[in-house]
Symmetry: C2
Subunit: 229 residues, 2 copies
DNA sequence: CGAATAGTGTCTGTTAGACATTATCGA
DNA sequence: TCGATAATGTCTAACAGACACTATTCG
């Protein structure tokens, strides 16, 4: 086991950046500026820079900032993909992360970014298709028993809006009474006193925001947020 | 972003091999034969060998076979650990896996292996302590709603034995009636017709085995295996 | 037969979902 | 006042845990 064996492995990070658009879970893809797959749509990604990155998550955050301008979204390690065939440059390892951003934060830079629904994506280069599938599965799974989808909402939002986000992610309707019981149980939201969503021809909804201490962490439930009706 | 940036990263795999011993969840540690940390107890691990490994999980299985003789236990990716400080040889990436084996399969080679309870471990080299903690958390979490602990049982086992395994992993007693209902719901076991556990001064228990199609996969529950009495 | 544990039937408190009712806005 | 949706009260069915009872072995 000599040292040279470690040297020929290419080390990169890729980020599956997810958002909600038109009631659908979407992924942000960028047009690749360099080979391989120059010009193709792919996940934002890049080499680890050992001289500046303290960690792979650092590299993922740097890549995300450089390529999309997003500063500090919810970012979590997904899985690591590896093998001789996934990158034409050689045996490679890519540590994949997923990030969630509210739709509003994306508006700013629409440079070469495409926001596409995760269902019915075109074939993606490398194994980015598998990465997206893994990220979607992870987000769906975690959304069943945690506050994860809150990170797809803007800073201030109503409970009906949040329920619609959960329903879009899970792909099925949720019972309103159960949903509200579970959100209360999660205990991650605080109402903004006196702030109501105005302007519609019905009773205005209370606005909430995520409690600051949950900006980077999740709250979990034992029994899961029920689906159906 | 030139190609040289990928070259200085060391790529390894490590395996958190877990088993049950004396009613406690234990990890298998080996005495390191080479520097760094020569002579210290650490997780089985090693470099990725790009010329022979088709994937990181291949590398993990190879390392496990080479160092412990275990052929094909339940093996799953855990997380990837990285950074400049975790390995004194330089900026490194280690893709960590966890494996579960029944106690019986370990007996064969007790060469330089130590089986230690996961609670109260000594300080481990690299970030192996964090890896063990992450693996234990993952196994506890998955055991709440899946058939994962079955892989800690021998090939033939009784339901009371399986319940004891769940209780050891989760660290709390489980209601017998609920547990049996849940195991039936999981639908991963089949009784061995006519085979009972003999030799004790009570009613003999039915022997079961894992259905072959679940050798490498898990069955999940929506509501979780209840804990408490 | 008695001790011990396997395995099952059944009761009850808790929880999730269905439904109904009230509240509050704009038009 | 009406239409629409928010927010909440309440009923019911499903489920988990508690308890008790039967089954089957050894000594």
């Amino acid at each position: 086991m000599n040292r040279s064996e470690g040297i020929s492995v290419i080390c990169t990070v890729d980020v599956v950046l997810l958002t909600l658009h038109g009631g659908q879970l979407c992924v942000v893809l960028l047009k690749r500026e360099r080979p391989p797959f120059q010009g193709a749509l792919a996940l934002p990604g890049g080499y680890i820079h050992p001289e500046q990155d303290q960690d792979a998550v650092d590299a993922a955050a740097r890549v995300l900032l450089d390529k999309t301008g997003l500063a500090s979204p919810y970012l979590e390690q997904l899985a690591t993909f590896s093998g001789p065939g996934r990158d034409p440059r050689g045996w490679s390892v890519s540590i994949a992360y997923y990030a969630l951003v509210p739709q509003e934060l994306l508006r700013r830079d629409t440079t070469a970014a495409q926001v596409l629904p995760v269902e019915g994506l075109p074939v993606l280069p490398f194994d980015h298709g598998r990465m997206v599938a893994a990220a979607v599965a992870r987000v769906r799974s975690k959304s069943q028993y945690s506050s994860l989808p809150v990170h797809l909402c803007p800073e201030r939002f109503t409970l009906p809006q949040l329920q619609a986000v959960y329903e879009a992610v899970l792909g099925e309707p949720i019972n309103k009474v159960s949903f509200r019981r579970k959100v209360e149980e999660l205990d991650v939201l605080e109402p903004l006193p006196g702030e109501l969503e105005q302007g519609r021809a019905n009773r205005p909804a209370q606005l909430y925001r995520l409690r600051p201490q949950y900006r980077r962490s999740l709250s979990l439930l034992e029994r899961g947020i029920g689906a159906r009706s």
